[in-house]
Symmetry: C2
Subunit: 432 residues, 2 copies
């Protein structure tokens, strides 16, 4: 052991949660649970550590090793702290495929680690809400999942002026690229890769790459035009596409159910190239100072293929990071004052009263369901009042020797400063 003092800082990119922050988090996760459970989504969890192989099989060795905290145990197993939840939940679904009742409506709020440079909205340790429906191939699951994302945000008091769900369809995207470029599926895939990075590269580089794939200036402009089209205009361009029908059916249903005010068609939503197969969406913060995609998701086909031969379970879902959502709630002033309206009683202590009387009094309040604590220590009353204020107590109960004798205590409301005399026997009723 050394004599050097240790640092009190948490590890880079991670956070300590003192009680004030933890109260926020419990409220935050509690709201999400409440909303999702009301729609019969069921919560699950998996271990924090998985075999590294799981991530290599999904993302390739280089990405898996670079992105994760990984290490070898003494049994020579290569392990990683989970950087995402999908491989774990795929493993779980594959492991009980024959017992589980499809479709599954599942969610989880796991903590995870990614080895990356900490920056705004991106930390090394974070929590991520994962919501998925497994084993339902139809539009019903797409609709349910998008509805759940809207409900989660509405549950926090957000409305359509604060966020929008931008929706596209990968099948439609591929079909329309084929239709405009005249390429076959393989060629369209190459074009798609360039279109996918359109907003991340300079315009001249974009045009150059598109021309190299054989597209004319006119075709490039026709693709540009898609970004400003309504869903009706865009889908009309390839009327035979299954993806176009999925997209227009989804928007029709959103319109019928009044959810269209939260949603918008956006040809720019692609979300990578090989994973998603149908509906894709991203939820945007609408505030001018924070206008960006907060989270997203979509439909993918082969969830359990890495685990079970010839099995097919489809999924549709999304993942939402805690930091992003927290920023959203703060930006839109959606975080309530947690202390407001809560009854939290501190029983002050005086030396002329036997300690057992205080324990009995406090226990009787708790039996009645009232949050209460006895002041621990022997400091002067003024210090006890200070403590009560700082720790967010709403009331302080004063029972000195004379109050005990008379059977009547004083209750001081720390917000209104009002003082009331209350019979000891009816103290629980006073707070209820």
């Amino acid at each position: 052991m050394s004599n050097t003092l240790l640092s009190t800082q948490p590890y880079k990119g991670t956070r300590d949660f003192y009680p004030a922050e933890m109260r926020f988090r419990n409220w935050f996760f509690g709201k999400i649970r409440e909303t999702l459970e009301r729609s019969a989504y069921e919560e699950y969890n998996a271990p924090m550590v998985e075999e590294l192989e799981l991530y290599i099989a999904k993302s390739g060795e280089e990405i898996a090793k670079k992105q994760t905290y990984n290490f070898t145990d003494r049994g020579d197993r290569q392990l990683a702290i989970r950087p995402e939840m999908t491989p774990s939940v795929a493993r779980m679904v594959a492991g009980k495929m024959n017992e589980l009742n499809m479709p599954l409506k599942w969610f989880s709020i796991p903590n995870m680690y990614r080895y990356e440079r900490p920056q705004r909205g991106r930390l090394r340790e974070f929590w991520q809400l994962n919501v998925d429906i497994f084993g339902c191939d139809g539009f019903e699951a797409d609709m349910d999942v998008i509805e759940s994302a809207i409900n989660v945000l509405r549950g926090f008091g957000a409305d359509e002026t604060m966020f929008k769900v931008h929706i596209n369809n990968r099948r439609f995207f591929n079909d329309i690229i084929c239709a405009i470029s005249g390429a076959d599926a393989e060629g369209a895939k190459l074009v798609s890769k360039v279109v996918d990075k359109k907003n991340k590269i300079p315009r001249d580089v974009y045009e150059k790459e598109m021309r190299e794939l054989g597209l004319s200036d006119e075709q490039i402009l026709r693709i540009d035009a898609l970004y400003n089209m309504s869903v009706e205009e865009a889908t009309a361009l390839c009327p035979d596409s299954v993806g176009a029908k999925e997209l227009s059916d989804l928007f029709a249903l959103l319109g019928d159910t009044g959810l269209d005010k939260y949603c918008v068609f956006d040809f720019g939503i692609i979300r990578g190239l090989d994973y998603y197969t149908g509906t894709v969406f991203e939820v945007f913060d609408e505030s001018p100072e924070n206008n960006r995609a907060m989270f997203g998701g979509g439909r993918y086909d082969n969830l359990v293929g890495l685990f079970v031969k010839n099995a097919k379970v489809s999924g549709v879902g999304y993942g939402m990071g805690d930091v992003t959502l927290e920023n959203f709630l703060v930006t839109h002033n959606l975080v309530p004052d947690f202390t407001e309206g809560n009854t939290k009683v501190l029983v002050a202590r005086f030396n002329d009263v036997p300690y057992k009387e205080y324990i009995g009094l406090t226990a009787s309040l708790r039996e009645a369901g009232i949050t209460s604590a006895l002041y621990l220590g022997t400091k002067k009353f003024g210090k006890q009042i200070d403590y009560a204020f700082k720790e967010g107590y709403s009331h302080i109960v004063i029972m000195g020797g004379s109050e005990l004798e008379s059977g009547t205590v004083k209750v001081k409301n720390l917000n209104s400063r009002e003082e009331t005399e209350v019979k000891i026997s009816s103290l629980p009723d006073f707070f209820q």
Copy 2:
């Protein structure tokens, strides 16, 4: 990527939590939170990964490296997945010593990893309730912490026939060993180390080691006798000991407040040798088939010494593993049926009704706070009923084309099999 299928098993010593298990855990952790928050304990959390140094400083390099999953990041920092919470919370308290209002009543339910051989009640990934009071040197905190442990178990419906808190005092233990052996503090410490392992080594080895430290057979017998004494008998043997006074004061208070029925004096409770400084306790399961210590804790003096020079913050607390507590609840039949009494409504789907009608109906139930879902898919009604049963729905709502036309749906109670006709407009009221 290889073509070999991946295993669906979680990593050795860890568990998957499917919805049924997760429901149990949310109930389980929720009860604990409810009980502790009612006594104004506040929840905190810390990162899952800490600098390895933290554990080395507390437990020495060998134990820290052997017990933890540890690794080096690309910035050459030695890290470990937390094997316990005390170093993290000590770091947090040290980091804000001047802002925090002592005494702190804190708790946390973190997940953690220990590298050990999985066995009954001991896994590699587990959750551990940590309850502590920091910054109160007096008996008041010892009492509050023991009361909280009793309340946590009582909160689950456990009574004094199911568990007992075995209490001792480290100061008293040292003093009485001094008094009986005639040794000085240093000599008594050596004797203590042998007494600490009394029940883990054969009797003849125990006696041999005690004799080697200079104890007579008579002195060994006098120490034996302590295990069968009441707290009054034992403390009478060294009336001037501060520890003896602490112990008898604590038991007097437990008696005064009626908590003595949950508690017993036990000279065999020592809990290691260098860490604890006063009250120590272990909570035992009283069932004959599972009679053993479930968890324990005690008072320790120097919480923040590794972080802040010349600072002193004392603590008293305990740590309770999830696996142990779960075994206790199962053994004593304290796990309720989670589905009982819950309203969870499945809206069945028929092809002759526009889908938007179902979405609207389900949304109206949710708006009224009723857990409800729409059947996702197009299977036959019989299959939908099967699904509802297996997924624990309490009711199924039947709205085919004719019901929609008449404005009246059928509601089937899946427990009683009763069927009721309900007007669509008053469906939320029906369930409330």
